[in-house]
């Protein structure tokens, strides 16, 4: 191979590294089972992928066959995916060490999920989308049901399997209809038809593709799996679904909707806007009186992806910037919330009831502050990343004059104050008995501290993501 060939490969390197990592872990643990080794290889692979991003950015865009397209947008999200997976891996180590006898394969599945997510953001072809989504989903079945001795986890895995199977059927059926109408599956093919107006079959196909993706994003009314799966899955896996999986789908949805010109079709735009509003309303209303924290966070994610859809609809540079910032901020606050849940979860099962969190600020200050700040950020209180994120989304909605969506964000955010602030109140109330068996390692505290710093940094100096967002926007528009 010549030097020039290697340079051609640079844009693909992050994705390739992510794909190779789980293979290496598989080989390594087949030689010797060792928890720290599996974690170490995974982290090294993720770090290598992150390290490869700058060079890839310099050489982007590039394609590999019809299915893989790498540009600044996909690389930005690959970066977020790799970093997010690393956080989940770090969060999982003490959790698995407490509750699992054989934790090593978990990291293989984690690596596959990351690969699927990264592939999903790096494609402009519906076949690529289907392949990537399946890769991601298959890894998630395993992860959700990983604690084999917990009935709840098995049930959650099974439910996800059934539901995602049905959703994939919808997605594939939509793709088939599109192919029947257009004779191609690339986004460009679809865009070429969009300018001339879709036929009924094409419209129906696109609508079903959107419905399939809405399932992956847990948008109402396709959200019903989310609370059961979030509750049954191990807490770090719930975090992975909320961030890496749904973040990747959101990025893909953005790319697909803007590249195919689907939103120029009023009916499709109305469908997407409807999904956004219904998700905001249903997510927040369902979370309102929820006392199970993992379920509450599931509903919260339904609402948040409803907000995010407003950025997705605002194609153009502001939309990219809003999307990237929102996803990054949502990653940080979700990791904080689930990080606290993970740290409080013992051998007996995950911390879920509100009682577990009572007086957290007094007995476990680091966890308490992390939970309070992440709640405030999810609510969108200034100084936290969540505020800037919401501001971006509102700006994106306002710039497109989608006033109905802007008003919906404002109203449903007001509803959400009730349950987010209840988390804050619970954390600050008088301490309850200190449950034993939870994680008191420095590791968890250190991870949460870094995330808190990041949350505030994004809230105070949101400009730090600006260069990346500009590159991503330039690549698309």
């Amino acid at each position: 191979m010549t030097r020039a060939d290697l340079a051609d490969l640079a844009p693909l390197a992050p994705l390739a590294i992510l794909a190779v990592t789980p293979l290496v872990v598989t080989v390594a643990i087949s030689v010797r089972r060792h928890h720290a080794l599996a974690l170490g290889i995974t982290l090294a692979g993720l770090a290598a992928a992150v390290a490869a991003v700058p060079a890839a950015l310099a050489a982007a865009p590039a394609t590999a066959g019809a299915l893989v397209t790498v540009d600044a947008l996909s690389l930005s999200f690959t970066l977020l995916i790799a970093l997010g997976t690393a956080v989940v891996a770090l969060m999982s180590r003490p959790y698995l060490a407490r509750s699992e006898r054989r934790p090593e394969e978990y990291y293989v599945l984690l690596g596959i999920a990351a690969t699927g997510a990264a592939a999903l953001v790096s494609t402009e072809h519906l076949a690529g989308v289907i392949l990537a989504v399946e890769t991601l989903s298959v890894a998630l079945f395993g992860l959700i049901a990983y604690p084999r001795d917990r009935a709840g986890a098995i049930e959650a895995g099974l439910k996800y399997l059934i539901m995602t199977g049905a959703a994939s059927a919808v997605l594939v059926f939509g793709a088939a209809l599109l192919y029947a109408d257009i004779g191609g599956l690339t986004f460009d093919d679809i865009a070429a038809r969009a300018s001339g107006g879709f036929s009924v079959v094409g419209l129906a196909g696109l609508a079903l593709v959107i419905a399939g993706l809405a399932f992956k994003l847990a948008l109402a009314p396709f959200h019903m799996w989310a609370p059961d799966v979030y509750q049954g899955a191990p807490a770090p896996v719930s975090a992975l679904i909320a961030t890496v999986s749904e973040g990747a789908v959101a990025a893909l949805a953005f790319r697909m909707l803007s590249a195919t010109g689907a939103l120029t079709e009023p009916a499709l735009a109305a469908i997407v806007a409807g999904l956004a509003v219904v998700s905001m309303a249903a997510g927040n209303l369902l979370a309102l009186l929820q006392t199970r924290v993992k379920r509450l966070l599931a509903y919260s994610s339904v609402a948040h992806f409803g907000y995010l859809l407003v950025a997705v609809m605002a194609a153009g540079p502001l939309g990219v910037e809003a999307l990237l910032f929102y996803v990054a901020a949502y990653f940080v606050m979700t990791y904080l919330a689930f990080g606290v849940v993970t740290a409080l979860s013992g051998r007996a099962g995950d911390a879920d009831a509100l009682d577990h969190f009572k007086g957290l600020c007094w007995r476990r200050p680091v966890l308490g502050i992390a939970l309070v700040l992440s709640s405030l950020s999810l609510l969108g209180v200034p100084v936290t990343a969540g505020f800037i994120a919401k501001l971006y989304v509102l700006a994106a909605g306002a710039s497109e004059a989608r006033w109905g969506l802007v008003v919906a964000i404002a109203l449903t955010t007001a509803i959400s104050a009730f349950y987010y602030l209840r988390l804050v109140v619970v954390s600050l109330s008088r301490p309850a008995e200190d449950p034993r068996g939870d994680d008191r390692s420095l590791e968890a505290a250190a991870l949460l501290t870094v995330l808190v710093a990041l949350l505030i940094a994004l809230g105070v100096a949101p400009g730090i993501l600006e260069p990346l967002a500009t590159r991503a926007a330039d690549a698309l528009f």
Binding site: K159, M163, A167, V170, A207, L208, M224, D228, I271, L285
Partner: protein, 626 residues
């Protein structure tokens, strides 16, 4: 020199900051030193700036010291700037010098109080805001000072907040003056609207040029400013807060509620007199308000048992004198009385403070008596203060300033003669109530042995200095019969029209008549409350009228019935938050929606699948149909 002006203002604020941030560990001695020296240095600088202004001669009529421009939008560019002209110089000197004497006295008087530090922090804060008020270069800054002194007054009236009635008195003072403040704010907005500037010097020149005499705008803004002044300077009908304000420590009553803050209204009207001259009808109203206040408060003072309330009503009445003078266009005469009043009323309060302290907090005049024999210094100082208040001819400061007012009001048109008659009646009443208090407290039989009074140089020096000022402190502006001194006219320069001086038969007759009435009042007080009568008339005279006077002629009761009561009932009606019913309905609706939605999430995969399918069908149907 002008640059020192900002420092004059800044020092008391610095004292406030030091004291409030200094922490509870600050020793009492350090608190006293900081609290007094901040005002002392400010006073020294004030004198220096004043001398510089006087020396600069007529060429420079005012100093301006701009610290920074606060906002700059078009014509609205208020700066944090202080300016010194004749009028503000007089005010500045009164505030800093009388303020200094009272601070010195308070350093000893308040020493044993647990909140010594808080006391001086508030006092310094007050002096700072008072200086902002009198030195402000624009109306916005003036208003800041105006509100600031109101805040300091509130904090100091409620200084002993542990007793609920003191908190009530503080709230009452704040709310009642607030009514005036609101009117003032609207009046100032109106002026800005009409004249397009907030700079005081420009407001004054433009008012001369732009305000049409008797126009609605002129009348309205003057009336609103009058309302503001009436609130701050305790004029009828907004005077009710001042007697209750006596709940504060006595040095506070002397400084804020006698010598300085309550004169802010007088200062304001004098400062903005061109606006009132464009509104002759309001000027008449000013005179009437002053005259009514003067008489009512003097009568009310006659009925009080509490020595501090006598002095409070006396202050209201004397402010009425000044306001009458303003209404008659005799601004300089009003300022002259403002100065002498600061001297003798501060003296009276500080003397009363010693009496009260030595009687372990007894305020009731009828339980005093015979103190002449044990409290020598307060006896003399109170006596001198009362004499000056009663305007005893020739030998007191009060005589000269009142004479000036009397003559200027007499020559004023319209209705000067009527107003002069009110002033003469007031002279008699003033002498009567002043010496009633004096005789009741210091003559007659000594009741129980007082505890040792607060003594020492820090107490005595301010009393002696103020006593001297209460005697000779009026000799800055006298008529031809007393040397024709015109120091005040000289100082005020162009800032106010000069006061007239009476010569001739009219003037002599007025002067002799007023003197006679003053002496007559003292004689009447001696006959009614003197040592010979006292044991037999232990309850006073005319019990019904006395009760009415003691109650301040029912203003409080009327306000209670007309304003406070209905407002309370309204508040009670709203206590259960009927407005909240709407929001509770929203909350209930949201809960119900949650219940309905949660019903779908019961973990049944077949339900989930059905919804997934229905959702897809709905999307499909919509995309195809639309």
């Amino acid at each position: 020199m002008p640059s020192l002006l900002a420092l004059v203002v800044a020092l008391p604020f610095a004292g406030f900051l030091l004291l409030s941030l200094g922490g509870a560990r600050l020793p009492a001695r350090a608190v006293g030193i900081i609290g007094v020296s901040s005002v002392a240095i400010s006073a020294v600088l004030a004198v220096a700036v004043f001398v510089a202004l006087a020396a600069s001669g007529p060429a420079e009529v005012r100093f301006v010291d701009t610290v920074w421009t606060w906002i700059d939008v078009g014509p609205f560019a208020p700066a944090v700037a202080f300016s010194l002209d004749g009028l503000s110089a007089v005010m500045m000197l009164v505030v800093t010098l009388v303020g200094l004497l009272i601070h010195v006295y308070a350093a000893a008087y308040m020493r044993s109080d647990a909140s010594y530090r808080r006391f001086f922090a508030y006092m310094n804060l007050f002096v700072g805001f008072m200086l902002v008020l009198v030195l402000a270069d624009n109306l916005l800054l003036l208003y800041l000072g105006w509100e600031g002194v109101g805040l300091a007054s509130y904090l100091l009236i409620g200084f002993w907040y542990q007793r609920p009635e003191n908190g009530y008195a503080a709230r009452k003072a704040f709310i009642v003056t607030r009514i005036g403040d609101t009117a003032l704010a609207i009046g100032l907005f109106l002026l800005f609207w009409e004249l397009g500037t907030v700079d005081i010097a420009q407001v004054i020149t433009r008012a001369d040029q732009l305000l049409v005499e008797g126009s609605a705008v002129a009348n309205l803004s003057a009336a609103l400013i009058l309302a503001g002044a009436a609130g701050k300077s305790a004029q009828v009908p907004l005077h009710v807060w001042l007697p209750d304000a006596m709940a504060g420590p006595t040095p506070v009553s002397a400084l804020i509620h006698a010598a300085t803050m309550v004169t802010a209204g007088v200062y304001l009207i004098a400062r903005l007199h061109p606006i009132f001259e464009a509104a002759p009808a309001v000027l008449v109203a000013v005179a009437i308000v002053g005259a009514v206040t003067l008489l009512l408060a003097a009568l009310a003072a006659l009925g009080q048992r509490d020595v501090k309330r006598v002095l409070a009503y006396s202050t209201i009445s004397q402010l009425g004198y000044m306001v009458v003078a303003l209404g008659a266009g005799a601004y300089a005469a009003a300022i002259a009385h403002l100065v002498t009043h600061a001297f003798f009323k501060a003296l009276l309060f500080l003397s009363a403070g010693v009496v009260i302290a030595s009687l372990r907090g007894e305020h009731d005049l009828w339980r005093m008596g015979g103190l002449r024999r044990v409290l020598h210094l307060p006896f003399w100082s109170f006596g001198i203060g009362a004499a000056s208040l009663a305007a005893v001819p020739v030998v007191t400061a009060g005589f000269y300033s009142k004479e000036l007012i009397l003559w200027n009001v007499w020559v004023a048109e319209p209705g000067g003669a009527w107003l002069a008659a009110v002033l003469l009646a007031g002279t008699f009443l003033t002498a009567l109530y002043a010496f009633r208090a004096f005789f009741l407290a210091f003559f007659g039989k000594l009741r129980d042995a007082p505890s040792p009074p607060p003594r020492g140089g820090l107490i005595a020096a301010p009393l002696v200095i103020l006593a001297v000022l209460a005697i000779v402190g009026g000799l800055f502006e006298t008529s031809a019969y007393f040397g024709g001194i015109e120091l005040l006219t000289l100082t005020l320069g162009d800032s106010l029209p000069a006061a007239a001086h009476g010569v001739g038969a009219d003037a002599l007759a007025l002067m002799i008549g007023a003197s006679g009435l003053s002496l007559l009042g003292i004689a009447a007080a001696y006959l009614a409350y003197g040592p010979r009568v006292l044991p037999r008339r232990a309850g006073g005279y005319l019990p019904a009228a006395g009760r009415a006077a003691e109650a301040g002629f029912g203003f409080d009761a009327a306000y209670e019935r007309i304003v406070v009561g209905p407002f309370r009932r309204l508040a009670r009606g709203l206590r259960d938050e009927p407005v909240d019913l709407v929001y509770e309905a929203v909350a209930r609706l949201l809960r119900a929606a949650h219940g309905v939605l949660a019903f779908t999430q019961r973990g049944r995969v077949r339900v989930y699948l059905a919804v997934l399918l229905l959702g897809s069908l709905a999307v499909l149907a919509y995309s195809v149909m639309a």
